[in-house]
């Protein structure tokens, strides 16, 4: 069985609740991943914050209610909202219920969990300790990269 622990990307960089959005985005850019893990004061995994959620939060509700926003293609309201959020702590952006994997889960289960939750990346957690990530590309490499199996 192809297990998560054999394919995961081991990166334990994490932030805490009081980190600013600016810093969280910088970490995502530096590590070239779509999300960053959040840990509490005792170092336990507490959820994650993903680029997707940051973008969702920067789109105001009224824009989400417009059936077709193509007429606004030359307007930059969303980046303006995002700019306003940069120096706020990420508290309200943390997804505490972000689905996670354990190192002994199969990669097949990881694939299912990713597609069900429409995520690009999932955290790997063992007994409250954050260990790394499994991304869509890691799943594809299970079949393309035969040597690993």
């Amino acid at each position: 069985m192809n297990q998560v622990k054999d394919y995961m990307y081991k990166d334990i960089t994490s932030v805490n609740e009081t980190t600013t959005l600016r810093r969280a985005i910088r970490i995502m850019r530096l590590h070239r991943i779509d999300a960053v893990a959040v840990v509490d004061k005792t170092g336990k995994y507490a959820g994650c914050i993903s680029a997707q959620e940051v973008i969702n939060a920067s789109v105001p509700d009224y824009i989400k209610s417009i059936y077709n926003t193509s007429f606004m293609s030359r307007i930059d309201q969303i980046t303006a909202h995002l700019t306003n959020m940069l120096d706020d702590p990420i508290t309200h952006l943390i997804n505490k219920k972000c689905p996670s994997l354990s190192p002994t889960d199969s990669m097949a289960y990881a694939a299912d969990l990713l597609s069900r939750n429409k995520k690009t990346i999932l955290p790997v957690v063992e007994e409250g300790i954050f260990l790394g990530w499994v991304s869509k590309i890691d799943i594809l490499s299970v079949v393309s990269d035969k040597q690993k199996t």
């Binding site: 059936y67 007429f71 293609s73």
Partner: protein, 435 residues
Amino acid sequence: MSFAFVIDINSVNIVIALTVLILTFIFISTEKLPNAIAAMTGGFLLIVFRIVTQEEAVEFIDFDTVGLLTGMMISVAVMRKSGLFEYIAIKGIKLTGGNPWKILVVLSIVTAVLSAFLDNVTTVLIIVPLTFAVAEAIRINPLPILISEIMFSNIGGAATLIGDPPNIMIGGATHLDFLDFISNNLPVTVLVSIVTFMLLRLIYYRKLMAIVVEKERIEAFDETKVIEDKKLFTISLVVFSLVIMAFVTHQLHEISLASVALGGGFVMMLATRQDPEEILKEVEWPTLFFFLGLFVIVGGLEKTGVIGIVAVKMVELSEGEITYATQLVLWVSALSTTVINSIPFTATMISVIRDMEAIMPGNIDPLWWALSLGACLGGNGTIIGAAANIIVAGFSQKTRYPLRFAEYLKVGLPLMFVSIIIVSGYLFLKYGLLR
């Protein structure tokens, strides 16, 4: 002995039916329960308590109203996909050149016109997000525009048979057709609109015009982009125009409104090759069940004789004079619907007016117009007066500009009174003096 027993059963039935109706009104008006659940449970209770049988319950349902509503919901679901409504609104906004007062006027007129043909809630769900988009683009406070849109959704809805639920119900229950509504309600709603604009100008003009807006940001809107599928746009517009024409020419072909609306809806789906699964999901089933339940509750009340008693009282109060009765119905409707939901109110009043018809001499049509205009415009009095108001207020709470109860009341209530005074004079002149 047996007579006394019969009386007793009947008074128990009256108490039960009234309790169910009042509880339903309370649950709906305080939003403690979703409308559909309150009404359907109420209807169910009347069957459980043997006040009505299932057969009677089905007979009480006005399928003309339910069919018309369903048909319009289907057409609107298809038309929404075409981008037609956004196109009209954005085109209008660009014509204003970014002048905030003109934006208020244009968006209010678009709201009124769309409301005259579509359900008010659908209209504000389209217009209000666009209003926020415009207001944010040119950095103005959207609240005056939102308040005006709420008022004009109810004013525009009053103008036609299909504009507002009370009118759809009256149209379903009476001989009055689409053209009758146009000839009676349209002139007075235009008059009310003009006066409302004049008063809103007094209240908001200086506040709105105090800001220098960046006009380029309005010009950056591109309305042509919202029409992704020109064929869908054209066909749905053509079919909808045919449906409206069929409403207007009802007297020539005598096909019921419900058949026209439902037929039109499905022909539109056929002509634009829609997936029924997807479109029928857009039909507001909770609203339809809300109506079904209400018809059963009001029917049960009618059967117990309560409605008849209210009708006799109203005729007595107006001394059997149609002119007085008209004013009575108008003011009772307007004042009631500022706080309670106009749909159950209208359902009840339709039964009352029908019973009044039996005991009042002459033509009672003015009573229907009083009910229609009172129930539609009365909704403007408070933020909870009509479904559209509640939707707009709810929507604004998630933004930086939450519309508060008191802020709306300051403007809405006086303007509602002005509109009812205008209607009162109109009905008095038309059916009292110039009869």
